[in-house]
């Protein structure tokens, strides 16, 4: 069965804005557009969690490095389409 939704990964700000405008346009008669904004510290890996090893001890965990710069993660969703972008203040 073909997937009707597909995640496009991070879009550039311009492409995101045009796609978002299109979403609002398509949702005029029916449906909702959901926009989510949150702070993003640039991490590409999840926070490591201590795990129980075979010898019964907990594994050592090196935490992720302190973020160098923060930005803004913006996601938008309409029906089955999702888009995201990262906004830098510079």
């Amino acid at each position: 069965m073909a997937q009707s939704s597909h995640n496009q990964g991070h879009l550039s700000n311009d492409v995101f804005m045009s796609e978002l405008t299109l979403m609002f346009h398509n949702a005029r008669t029916t449906g909702e557009v959901t926009t989510t904004i949150k702070r993003y510290d640039g991490r590409r890996k999840p926070h490591p969690k201590p795990r129980k090893l075979k010898n019964g001890k907990m594994s050592k965990v090196t935490p992720l490095p302190e973020p160098l710069e923060y930005s803004c993660l913006i996601r938008a969703r309409c029906k089955n389409k999702k888009i995201t972008t990262v906004d830098f203040e510079s």
Binding site: T29, V33, R39
Partner: protein, 78 residues
């Protein structure tokens, strides 16, 4: 469902939630054009604040407020 009546109250409470946990807080806005209703939700996965509006004037206030928050998010401040 904590639906806050006035925008000013909502903005103050939401800022408090955000400044307390900037990395965990997210702002969600859901817009339905056929009902002309915008619902705003702010949560840090512990507390939840909601606000609803259909007025353009409130939308302008919201827009200004969000832009100040987004500036903070992208800045170096913790």
């Amino acid at each position: 469902m904590v639906l806050i009546e006035t925008f000013e109250e909502f903005a103050k409470a939401a800022e408090h939630v955000y400044l307390n946990a900037p990395m965990k807080t997210r702002f969600v806005m859901k817009y339905n054009h056929s009902n002309c209703c915008l619902r705003v939700k702010v949560t840090d996965d512990i507390s939840l604040l909601q606000y609803k509006t259909d007025s353009q004037q409130e939308l302008r206030k919201l827009e200004k407020w969000i832009s100040t928050l987004v500036k903070h998010m992208a800045s170096e401040e913790r």
